[in-house]
């Protein structure tokens, strides 16, 4: 009986998620045009200029754009790979696993440096550093933290100020949060000390960068760790309330990656879209208001080398390794 209830619950849950998109937009060009279906973790607000640029260059193509979290992107695509033509995600490890497991098709005519693609199937098209976002007003009196060590010292010094008022990704929900966390942990033990102190100050955990940035702007939290700087930069409406910092000790630079499904209904369109995405067209066309830093732009190259697209990314996706990591994280953060 309990089993049946559990099954029914799962079924309900899956039914619920079936249409439960964060965003779903259809950008039609004309009524009887071909449709490219894109599954993405990138918010429409940020990605819209790219889509518009693509449609301007290639008239007659409609785009169905589905947005959900990085982990959900992976799960949904794995469940129904025929339903989408292009998959875009900031969780490099999950994307790499999709390619490793044979879900992507090779695109031999895309030329990128070897660090920016894997197997000619997974292509990085942005370079986005993991950033610290702080509330400008709250830090008016304080020196802005420059490194993780600075944050640790600041939190230790002012526990009352920061209790319940810091935020970071819930790595159980967010694929990108997990990627940032594992890369942090791999690089330095500072990560664990930071998580322990944040956990002891009852840090808030978030599924997505957007909410975190909103909360920093509103003053609900004062500091958000491992946020996508590109999202924060894109929020021009709250630019005077927040400040974006790059930790100086070691930067984690993520590449937003895209792949074309091996089972795509529109393989030509998918290839065309990937070519556009990896070209330097879209950010040059949007000079000035390009919201995503392209791998071709000089500004994006500054923060440091991006997380390597290599099989090492698969290590933290190992079930036992992940369980171990998540439980350690939980014991540090959830108190």
């Amino acid at each position: 009986m309990r089993y049946a209830i559990f099954l029914a619950f799962c079924l309900l849950a899956s039914l619920a998620t079936a249409d439960d998109w964060e965003e779903h937009e259809r950008y039609s060009d004309s009524a009887d045009s071909e449709t490219l279906r894109i599954l993405s973790s990138t918010d429409t607000a940020v990605f819209l200029p790219v889509i518009e640029g693509f449609q301007k260059n290639n008239p007659g193509i409609s785009i169905d754009y589905y947005v959900t979290g990085t982990a959900d992107v992976y799960e949904r695509f794995k469940r129904s790979p025929t339903q989408f033509d292009v998959v875009i995600s900031s969780a490099m490890d999950l994307q790499l696993k999709l390619v490793n497991d044979g879900y992507a098709s090779r695109q031999n005519d895309i030329v990128l440096p070897s660090w920016a693609h894997w197997r000619q199937s997974l292509f990085g098209f942005t370079l986005e550093p993991a950033s610290i976002v702080i509330n400008k007003a709250a830090f008016a009196e304080l020196p802005p933290p420059e490194s993780r060590q600075d944050i640790i010292q600041m939190l230790r010094a002012r526990p009352t100020v920061f209790r319940h008022r810091t935020g970071t990704y819930d790595i159980r929900q967010s694929g990108l949060g997990y990627l940032f966390a594992t890369q942090d942990a791999r690089t330095s033990d500072t990560y664990w000390r930071l998580m322990e102190i944040m956990g002891s100050l009852n840090t808030r955990i978030y599924c997505c960068s957007g909410e975190m940035i909103d909360d920093v702007a509103s003053g609900k939290i004062l500091l958000a760790y491992n946020v996508l700087g590109s999202y924060a930069k894109a929020r021009t409406d709250i630019a005077d309330k927040i400040q974006i910092l790059q930790p100086s000790d070691f930067p984690n630079v993520m590449m937003r990656t895209a792949l074309a499904s091996r089972h795509a209904h529109q393989p030509q369109l998918a290839a065309l879209f990937l070519r556009y995405l990896t070209s330097s067209h879209w950010w040059q066309a949007e000079e000035g208001d390009a919201l995503l830093p392209s791998i071709h732009s000089d500004i994006a190259r500054a923060p440091g080398t991006p997380i390597a697209l290599d099989p090492g990314l698969l290590v933290f996706l190992d079930r036992l390794k992940r369980e171990r990591f998540v439980s350690e994280w939980e014991s540090a953060v959830i108190q």
């Binding site: 044979g102 070897s114 894997w118 290599d310 099989p311 990314l313 290590v315 079930r319 036992l320 171990r324």
Partner: protein, 455 residues
């Protein structure tokens, strides 16, 4: 001289072909050898990395209070990074239950304590190299076995192999080309003494039958020895023939001349008409015999010499004039007017003895057949074609015999009553042929024979 030689293959070709065939086989062996060595080597290096990676994974497994913990080191997978971004798959089983990794990865059956096992299999349709190892985990109260398997696609390996094959092929082709050049060179070197021998033989004069004295390679000693032997025999036989002909001429002519002079002397002394008639017939027969013998010997000499002309520059006019002067006495006896006209500078590279023979025979013929009180014109021309023409006012040739008259011992039907052996025109024709010329027989428009030697 330019006799045809039956050809059976070429020594140079045969040697070169044998060498090249050997070289081709060697080149192919070289290519296959390098490739298989490289394949083994490349596979070994992939295996060693896979093995190291699997060891680092399986060593990371621990058993704590009966629970298996597996903390795969980051480097386990990064070390498998290749230029072609090969895919990797792994699976970890505990007593037959998958605890992590890909359930699709098939594991070979492993004995409990066996070493790591490598094999080539398929995963998701792609060929992979797979390594599987097992390990016993023990804690205070538990003992359990884990088996881990790691597989990697072989894109990089096949790329490496293709590259090595390409290089091996290039080395093979280079080796082949060099060896072919070398074989051709070696072959020419090997047969060059043969060519030198042939050249030196070709350059020799007709009379040069001396032995070859230049040193030759060992392999050619039997050939050169036989050749020297043959030439010595030929020289001896030629000398013998010439001596024989000279001896025969001497031995035949002298007795005939003696018999003739006796017969003439007897004729002076005999008065009886029937005896005189018999004697005249006899003298006539003797003349005929003498002439025939002379021509036969001439012909024999020509046949002997025609193969090896003693070529020198001969003035055709002077030679003819000499003969005309000598035969003028005979012509005057028959009241025949013998004239010589033409180009004084007509020269020919030829054998003077043969040419004299031919010219004498032609004028002799004309003298024989020309009626008394007629003219014989001899002309020598240098241009437009070098030739010697003899015209008489005799009966001429019968039209239907013209083709066959110059055959040996053939005489015209209208030659009855004239002394002759039927060899005169044959001699002239053979001499013309020996000098790459020809003999043309025709009748004058005004009657009489016209014989032309073209050179």
């Amino acid at each position: 001289m330019n006799s045809r030689v039956e050809i059976s293959g070429s020594l140079r070709f045969r040697t070169a072909a044998t060498l090249i065939l050997g070289v081709t086989l060697l080149a192919i062996l070289l290519f296959l050898g390098i490739r298989s060595y490289a394949a083994t080597f490349a596979q070994q290096s992939q295996d060693s990395i896979l093995g190291a990676s699997l060891t680092s994974i399986i060593d990371a497994a621990t058993l704590r209070d009966g629970v298996i913990e597996l903390d795969i080191p980051y480097a386990s997978f990064t070390m498998l990074n290749t230029a072609t971004d090969d895919r990797i798959f792994y699976a970890v089983y505990n007593e037959g239950t998958l605890i992590s990794g890909y359930e699709e990865l098939q594991l070979p059956n492993l004995a409990e304590t066996s070493e790591a096992v490598f094999r080539t299999s398929r995963m998701f349709g792609a060929p992979v190299r797979q390594v599987t190892a097992t390990r016993i985990l023990i804690d205070a109260h538990h003992r359990t076995r884990i088996t881990a398997s790691l597989a990697q696609t072989q894109d990089n390996l096949s790329g490496t192999l293709a590259r090595i094959s390409r290089h091996a092929a290039m080395i093979g082709v280079g080796f082949f080309a060099l060896a072919v050049l070398l074989s051709i060179w070696a072959t020419s070197m090997a047969i060059s003494p043969l060519k030198r021998l042939a050249d030196s033989l070709t350059r020799r004069g007709p009379q040069d039958l001396s032995p070859i004295i230049k040193p030759v390679p060992t392999e050619m000693v039997p050939l050169v020895a036989s050749l020297n032997n043959l030439m010595a025999r030929l020289d001896k036989s030629l000398t013998q023939s010439e001596d024989f002909i000279a001896e025969a001429a001497h031995r035949v002519r002298t007795p005939i001349a003696t018999v003739r002079s006796h017969a003439e002397m007897t004729l002076q002394r005999v008065d009886k008409e029937e005896n005189r008639h018999a004697l005249r017939s006899m003298i006539r027969a003797i003349d005929e015999t003498s002439r025939a013998a002379g021509q036969l010997l001439d012909h024999a000499m020509i046949t002997l010499r025609a193969d090896q002309l003693e070529v020198q520059l001969v003035n055709l006019y002077d030679t003819t004039e000499e003969i005309v002067l000598r035969l003028n006495a005979v012509a005057e006896m028959k009241d025949i007017h013998l004239t010589l006209t033409g180009s004084r500078s007509a020269c020919i590279a030829g054998d003077s003895i043969l040419l004299q023979n031919a010219i004498r025979n032609l004028i002799d013929n004309a003298l024989k057949y020309a009626p008394a009180e007629s003219c014989i014109e001899v002309e020598v021309h240098q241009a437009p074609t070098r030739c010697l023409v003899v015209r008489d006012q005799g009966p001429g040739f019968l039209i239907d015999e013209m083709d066959t008259l110059s055959d040996r011992f053939t005489r015209g039907k209208n030659a009855m009553g004239t002394i002759g052996s039927g060899l005169g025109l044959t001699i002239a024709r053979d001499v013309a042929a020996a000098h790459h010329g020809r003999l043309v027989i025709e009748n004058n428009a005004t009657g009489g024979a016209c014989v032309t030697l073209f050179f």
